[in-house]
Symmetry: C2
Subunit: 253 residues, 2 copies
DNA sequence: CGAGCAATTGAACGCTGTCAACCCGAGTGG
DNA sequence: CCACTCGGGTTGACAGCGTTCAATTGCTCG
């Protein structure tokens, strides 16, 4: 039954308001067509949106909440290979099955398009396909960045990088530097699975940074970045990469 | 000067012979247009094809040899985030700068298309863009698989998985199971940078597998997989994923 | 033959995974 | 109102794997 999702009519407004990657500044005709096939779905924290090797029925973007993309090893260990925040797109086109499981890390609402219908629109609105290509390219960039992060030995490095990425992402979506407060949108367990380590190591690294005066712990999910320079040094990345004074350096040279 | 690359005229034949992702089974008109803008370039081992944050002037696919995509940390450590083997595509469309450096890991020849001209062809041959989208999707899948690999703690697991991937890839491009011989196309140093560890750890893992009778070392770059079952068990992956009896399981469920 | 590099081997330290106990707030029921 | 439970987070002790440093081997090339 589709009855639970009868909020369809408010979809265009929601997506437009969000200025999400796929809708923003699209020609009106395309926007209208998109809104016709859009469906809003809501998920509770922990619900599975798409299981590993499931058939891909739809693509969509996150309106609110956090999704986790994860893969499971044969022995049961789970690794998170991506976190989707509001405005991110998920799912694939021109592919039958997913290689990752998609779950709601928090309560979440997403805006979905049937994959078939979405692909049909490519024929009439090539701009849509361009955007899809751009979205996947960004995801690949993020994945490669994350590979760099996972390959570094120290948990502190990974955590520092993660916090800096969160801060940059927040500033990017807000359009301005939103201050030193960083909200980690997931539990310690998810964070550990994302950083490729354990909850215990995460906890130690967090507390150590706090004792060193680099961050201040407001509550388990919220930190204040006190000493950004030392955090950047700890992350072992190019300072410019996370310097808000020159945020365009990385993407636009 | 473009003089060094005057072999342009043989490009179409080469690409067609290779059956590379972008040319194979393309409509003749598109193939012709592609061949018009194609250029063959050759690189010596160690040469840089594209530096990190360079402007992206062209896309292409590997004809022979191996390219490494790598990122550099601020302290000088280098991490390889991808190896491009013959038939793989590299470069980006709709992006100004690269986030990774591309270097020749061995002597290599590549078939390049100017990025601008390539994007122009999208307008007349949408199929081209579909294939580009598919190629990037595959790369993203590979990246996510590799993230899973990097997050696993044991070096043996990573090495075992890498060997199995190499074997599967060889079988896939050959079209049939090419036997237990696996050629590692890169040096120990590159291998270590790819697996996120050190040459010493690589060496220990290799020798240990050999002592255990799982592989046989022919020379530092060539191994024979003696006991595939134990290698799969060591990799900690789903046995079906690397079982040649059911190679389609993973991609098509 | 010696220089130089890749690969291997050995020894020691350190980080982190593992196991365990503990703290704390929320929800529940007496 | 308190006792209890449960889950998330933190802290401690310890062992193991892997990085690091160092030395050795084997090979290619000049």
């Amino acid at each position: 039954m589709e009855g639970l999702h009868s909020v369809t009519s408010i979809v265009p407004a929601k997506c437009a308001a969000l200025d999400c990657a796929i809708c923003a500044d699209l020609e009106p005709a395309a926007k209208l067509e998109l809104s016709r096939i859009a469906r809003v779905r809501t998920y509770r924290a922990g619900e599975t949106i798409l299981a590993e090797s499931d058939e891909i029925g739809f693509v969509g973007n996150v309106v609110s909440g956090v999704l986790r993309l994860q893969k499971t090893l044969h022995d049961g260990r789970q690794q998170i290979v991506g976190l989707m925040l509001p405005s991110d797109m998920f799912g694939r086109v021109f592919a039958q099955t997913s290689h990752v499981a998609i779950e709601a890390a928090t309560d979440a609402t997403v805006c979905c398009y049937s994959r078939g219908s979405f692909e049909q629109l490519f024929l009439r609105f090539p701009e849509l396909e361009h955007r899809m290509l751009a979205a996947i390219s960004r995801e690949l960039d993020a994945a490669q960045d994350w590979m760099l992060l996972l390959a570094t030995q120290s948990v502190s490095e990974r955590l520092a990088t993660f916090l800096l990425i969160l801060r940059r992402k927040k500033a990017a979506t807000a359009g301005f530097d939103a201050g030193p407060l960083v909200e980690v949108p997931v539990s310690r367990r998810d964070l550990a699975a994302y950083l490729g380590t354990t909850v215990e190591s995460i906890s130690r690294a967090v507390q150590q940074m706090a004792r060193a005066g680099i961050i201040r712990i407001i509550d388990p999910q919220r930190f204040e970045i006190v000493d950004r320079q030392r955090l950047i040094a700890l992350s072992n990345h190019d300072p410019q990469e996370f310097d808000p004074a020159a945020p365009r350096t990385r993407r636009f040279g």
